[in-house]
Symmetry: C2
Subunit: 339 residues, 2 copies
């Protein structure tokens, strides 16, 4: 449920998620407390560690609730099995499960993890269930395209979706784009040519399904779009694809921007302004993805993210919760649930 | 066959391929003639049109051979069917078929088209046949990565390859990287995590096959790599994937670099140096892809490429032909042909 107006939005944050945890997460808490945002943080992890992290940074323990969890997702072995088992325990032990339950049980309005994406997706789905009308969840990432922001989904939650799942991604992504203030977004199908009928079997079937179903829902379908259209933003403002292709593309775009920053910075003989652009982008649109299709506002950040990026994920989660994105996605997807 | 040392390398160029053809191709011819490269051009298209293009630009008709072809690949309807039919005619009519035959028949050492990728691939495969040991062709593109160049393949020739085809792409790409002067290149499998076992079924099977087969061939396997590794170039210098994912990634990287050039140029208040970086990259590594796995040196350029990019494709084709890339690929792949 979104927090009522005037209230603080409560965001549960995985203390042990991400390559630099818990320190990077602790630094992110410091950044958040300096902001004047109407957010109350619930730091999810071992109480002793959480207290120590706050103390070391001189942060006011009265402004952060520590929500006890025993440990992070074990990265050796089978992280998804560990999450599955944990969600069946009466007393959950893993930070992702405890954070997801905090939202399910009404203690928090949203949750954030910068840890293992698959583990966070599993915790969200198994704890809060899927939104009616959406078979598979999708990670929606906002790209800072040239003309206007583009919502790319799925960026890595569902590897082998059906054509029908891509239609559901489209509807959910369209809701999300509208909630971000994109006027009249249209949906494109990511493929390898701008003409109809290009790509593999999934794309050919999905193009047909999207054309038929989106039109029936009054959502404009822009047809096939290509990799460069995702960063141009002129042909479509919502781009749907499977989680494999979306994840590869997203990371490729991130890498290419880093490459360009280095090479162009050198061309000017002074890398400062180029690196500032990278910092702005990395702590803005790129910072994390919203998991659409689960009954909880969930944001997944980069495993290697900085404190500023983790803080940006918390802001994104708070904005989605306060803006009622989940309710909008639910309302739009309900008609797609088979009777 | 590579041209003997001291001879000119003969490159057949599709006059009617690409969005800006024939004018952009004509301008590319002008650029090529100004270069002092040891290349002789065969311009493939209608003789009248070719003569007119040379005359309009004041180019010496003695320095370019016009190879007669009736028309370009028809883009309405079914371009691949048109190519298939044309390759069965005694007298080919389409520029791509005529260009491919020029190589097959020993009139040219390599050919270039900036037209429809699928049509060029079809003309190459149907005219020259595949290299023994390689079931499907792959388009290999060189990315200007931060540490050293990275060869990405397949960038769009084979949409649904098998795990075995990815092994063949790896061997061919490894030969190509070595011919470019990359010392001790290692091969990575593009997927969505740096740990083993990530991704879809193709990736899981391919990872197993690559680990086993490449090791047997003495080719270092770097394991799974991600989208950003392709632009970093530190983990692997040859990255293999299916033609769908590779094409989406390549276009996404190109778009991201363009985005960064615009946004960073604005940050400096003077876009000149940023745009020069883009021009350098676009007319260097990015300009076109080499089709590996067919018995002819074939370069496919961007449909929307500039004259400088088409000229860069011709230089790339000449360099591959003179460097004997095809012979090296053949020698490395022969042991993979089933007895």
């Amino acid at each position: 449920m979104p927090a009522a107006s005037g209230q603080l939005t409560r965001v549960a944050l995985d203390l042990l998620g991400g390559d630099g945890a818990p320190d990077v997460v602790g630094d992110a808490v410091g950044l958040m407390l300096r902001d004047a945002l109407p957010v109350h943080l619930l730091l999810v992890g071992p109480v002793d560690l959480g207290s120590q992290i706050l103390r070391e940074r001189g942060l006011d323990p009265g402004r952060v609730t520590i929500l006890p969890a025993r440990c992070g997702v074990p990265m050796d072995g089978h992280p998804l099995d560990a999450v599955r088992e944990d969600t069946q325990r009466e007393q959950a032990e893993l930070t992702v499960t405890v954070a997801a339950r905090a939202v399910r049980d009404g203690l928090a309005d949203a949750w954030v993890s910068a840890g293992h994406t698959g583990a966070a997706v599993a915790a969200a789905v198994l704890t809060s269930g899927r939104v009616a009308g959406m078979q598979r969840p999708a990670l929606a990432v906002v790209l800072p395209a040239l003309e206007q922001p583009v919502v790319l989904l799925d960026a890595g939650a569902s590897i082998d979706p059906s054509p029908q799942a891509l239609v559901q991604f489209a509807v959910a992504g369209w809701c999300y784009a509208r909630s971000l203030g994109v006027a009249e977004p249209s949906v494109g199908l990511l493929t390898i040519g701008s003409e109809s009928g290009k790509g593999d079997e999934l794309r050919r079937e999905a193009e047909h399904a999207l054309r038929e179903r989106l039109t029936a829902h009054g959502i404009p379908f822009a047809g096939p779009v290509e990799g460069h259209d995702v960063v141009a933003g002129s042909r479509a403002q919502v781009v749907v694809t499977d989680g494999f292709t979306g994840n590869v593309l997203l990371k490729g775009i991130e890498g290419a921007v880093e490459w360009a920053v280095e090479r162009i910075g050198r061309a000017y003989g002074e890398p400062g302004p180029a690196r500032r652009v990278l910092r702005e982008v990395a702590t803005g649109e790129f910072a994390g993805g919203v998991l659409l299709g689960v009954n909880a506002t969930t944001v997944v950040g980069h495993g290697g993210g900085s404190a500023a990026q983790v803080a940006a994920c918390v802001r994104l989660a708070a904005r989605c919760a306060a803006g009622g994105v989940l309710a909008q996605v639910r309302a739009a997807l309900a008609p797609l649930e088979p009777a």
